[in-house]
């Protein structure tokens, strides 16, 4: 070959030079567990459904959401969102308002009439679910999707459990609850209302059920001994909230009177005080023995109650209840933080006293079932949600745990998986959890500052007088905005950063939805991609040298 002057070799490309040989550690793509998912009692893949919502594909987002939770419009309203407490974005500006996006998706599904995918072919197994509260409905939904025939026995006249008979309408409009319950029933779940299970063993035998999931809730209001005259009206909060659903509203109003004292410091106390206010009480006063910091009620509930004119007597107990007034004793916290009586008394005008001191479980249906362990008024279950009696599982408020709708839904899902495995004669082993995507894994430089969207709130006057929903929803534009505030912690969202910042062109872009791949022929292992990945979805692994 004749070469130009002074040229002796053919020019070649540096691609022949595999610089990957220099590497002592290699970058690897990973998926880490976002803190929101980790905190969700219902085990939702929040980052996963937000990913679809970010792209504006709300139906896909909703379908991803209901893989774990069949009641998003309800949960988006009533959940105390531990996910938002864990959200990494709170360290940038404010957490993503996950619940409002969830609610938007739930409402969108109701509006557009989205249905669940039809269940798989029948397994031939029958499962009895006792109680149509969040836990029972969740278990029924998941069991049906696993191919089992489910019958729910509900003691009450309507499905919903505490979602209907405990949570006031201004927090959860009944049309929303009805729509989501109906969607579960449409899947092929049989429900028998007004059908209290008196004895579980008999009911199982009579219906030839292969397994049972008990979720009867905790409906018996705890009592406290208060010396009282005959004419004093003392009721418990659960029955007040229950009667709100019934026909005897005028009677209830009359019974509560104009000055209502609520005894207790939990969310139920807030609910009942706010309800009394809406029923026309001129004074709704909560009496609580400790301080605001020690109060178990959630802060926003306390705040909203105060805004609506509910008054709170801190550090007080009810010593005696008479006709038209009660006697309070002032308390003081000791060095351990426990309230101690001070001997100082005061009198408070009151037409009625509502006890909101917690609830007990009606365990009578379990009489005579061998192997069960009852402790502190709750049924003990193993990690697979099974009671001591093989084939009988339990969840929700009747087992020891935090008593919230979302926890109950999580129990239902978990129990369904274990019941399914038990019916098939094996055991359910959950997939190992990914490593947590903590804030230190993120490169927040890349996230544009975008403060949280504020949900509209109902006018204060209407809040005091009506049962209209207090919290408004988001519309499509701000729901999209809110979804896009998600940092996608620990999971690639295809921002192209690794592909762009590699000084060696050693990242291959695989196209939309397919993420990226490293070209280890040329990757020198500098780690720039790891440092510049906004969401912490790449890690360095040592090479064997």
């Amino acid at each position: 070959m004749v070469k130009p002057f002074a040229i002796t070799l053919d020019p070649g490309s540096s691609l022949a030079n595999h610089t990957g040989l220099w590497r002592s550690s290699r970058p690897v793509y990973v998926d880490r567990l976002p803190p929101c998912n980790n905190a969700c009692p219902a085990g939702e893949d929040i980052q996963g459904w937000l990913f679809h919502a970010e792209g504006g594909d709300y139906e896909k987002a909703w379908r991803a959401l209901v893989q774990n939770n069949p009641l998003p419009a309800v949960v988006g309203r009533v959940c105390y969102h531990p996910c938002e407490g864990a959200c990494n974005r709170s360290q940038v500006d404010a957490p993503v308002s996950i619940h409002s996006v969830e609610r938007f998706l739930g409402d969108e599904a109701i509006k557009r009439g989205w249905k669940f995918a039809p269940p798989p072919p029948a397994s031939g197994k029958n499962v009895l679910v006792v109680g149509a509260g969040p836990s029972g409905l969740s278990a029924a939904y998941h069991l049906t999707r696993l191919g089992h025939a489910v019958t729910i026995h509900e003691a009450g006249p309507l499905a919903g459990g505490m979602m209907r008979f405990g949570i006031p309408k201004y927090r959860l409009p009944r049309a929303v609850l009805d729509a989501e319950v109906q969607r579960i029933l449409d899947l092929g779940v049989t429900i028998k209302l007004n059908s209290k299970v008196a004895n579980i063993a008999q009911s199982m035998k009579a219906g030839s059920f292969d397994a049972a999931f008990l979720a009867v809730g905790a409906h018996i209001g705890k009592r406290a001994f208060i010396p009282a005259g005959d004419a004093t009206r003392i009721v418990d909060a659960v029955s007040v909230l229950q009667r709100m659903e019934g026909a005897d509203l005028p009677e209830l109003k009359l019974m509560l009177g104009r000055r209502v004292v609520v005894y207790g410091g939990g969310n139920t106390a807030m609910d009942v005080a706010r309800t009394a206010k809406r029923l026309g009480a001129s004074e709704a006063i909560i009496v609580y023995r400790r301080t605001r910091e020690k109060m178990p009620a959630h802060d926003f509930e306390v705040e909203e109650a105060l805004q609506e004119g509910v008054m709170i007597k801190w550090l007080s107990t009810i010593k005696q209840a008479g006709e038209g007034s009660i006697t309070l004793e002032k308390m003081a916290l000791d060095e351990k933080g426990f309230p101690q009586p001070t001997g100082e008394f005061e009198t408070l005008g009151a037409d009625s006293v509502v006890l909101a001191l917690g609830q007990d479980v009606d365990l009578s249906l379990l009489d005579g079932v061998p192997g069960l362990e009852i402790k502190d008024g709750t049924v003990q279950v193993a990690s697979n949600m099974m009671t001591g009696h093989p084939g009988i599982f339990a969840g929700g408020d009747m087992v020891p745990s935090e008593r919230t709708v979302t926890v109950a839904i999580g129990h239902g899902k978990k129990a369904a998986r274990h019941i399914d495995a038990w019916l098939r004669g094996n055991s359910y082993v959950p997939a190992p959890k990914h490593e947590l995507a903590g804030f230190e894994r993120l490169n927040t430089w890349y996230y544009t500052d975008a403060p949280k969207t504020v949900q509209p709130q109902l006018d204060i006057i209407r809040r005091r007088t009506t049962f209209e929903e207090v919290q408004g929803g988001l519309d499509e534009t701000n729901a999209l905005y809110e979804a896009r505030r998600c940092l996608s912690c620990g999971n690639c969202f295809e921002c192209d950063n690794c592909y762009g910042v590699c000084p060696d062109n050693a990242v291959i872009k695989l196209g939309p939805g397919k993420r990226f791949e490293f070209n280890y022929d040329y990757c020198k292992g500098c780690g720039v991609c790891v440092a510049e990945c906004p969401c912490g979805a790449i890690t360095m692994v040592d090479e064997d040298i």
Binding site: P11, R484, F493, E494, C495
Partner: protein
Amino acid sequence: MSFQPVKFYQTGTFTVGNRLLAPEERSVQASAHRFNSLTSGHRACQGCGEALGARYAIDAAMEACHGQLIAANATGCLEVFTTPYPETSWQIPWMHSVFGNAAAVATGIAAALKVKGRKEVRVIAQGGDGGTTDIGFGCLSGMFERNDDVLYICYDNGGYMNTGVQRSSATPPAARTATTMAVGPEPGNPFGQGKFVPAIAMAHDIPYVATATVADLHDLEAKVRRAMELHGARYIHIFVPCPLGWGTDSSDTIRIARLAKETGLFPVFEAERGEVTAVLKIRKRTPVEDYLKPQKRFAHLFGEHPRSDTIARIQALADKNILKYGLLAEGG
């Protein structure tokens, strides 16, 4: 602003791309079909800022002129690691020059193209800070003064790195190099020397002068695009960290460049005909210690006997830049 921030997307403003953005809103580097003008297999160190900056800039220029580009390259790291004869990492028409004459070679190419009537072919000259601010400075100034139709890109890593990290006129004060050791009462590079070539380029009143860093890709690409829209002598000065010469972790290249901008030590701006037209504001003002501390070339300022006096002098330089170029956002 030279680039438009995209509001309310997860990351649209600052990341390379984003699946939610329209393709035209993404950077050139986000495209699966980018030119990769500087391709894999080059022999730059791990985490080389110059290799990254060169691909960013030349890919953007290639995009702007539809691949009709010739580059003249000064001797330096960029040439040594990309083109050890007989192989090359460049996927563009590329011409070797000696250390000091890249600007003059590019002028010649531009003249030849003019004679041949090849108006569509554009010319770039590129080199490191040694070949630009020191050795090639005469040729560069001449190119500016004649307003030759060349875009000159300087990749500033603050020293002669491939020959063993010697000082250049772009080496920052107090930095340790092989020729400015960290000894004596004023260790490292002396204060009050060196020169800021973007300001000198502006003094030539040429059509376009800009600075950029490898930490702000969208800004860098917008500046190359703007430069390619114009004719005559244009100059872009890109700040490119050098893990070897600066003693930084190879994964910190972009972070260090970001800190140089956020401290104000490296002002990022653009100027047309000698007047500053836009500056890239500091997003989160940062003390110079944050920039200096991760770099071993400044290690003698910390340790057992910290040189707070020297750090204060460096901070004063940053503050001066902030004031001079108006780097703080309003209310920031």
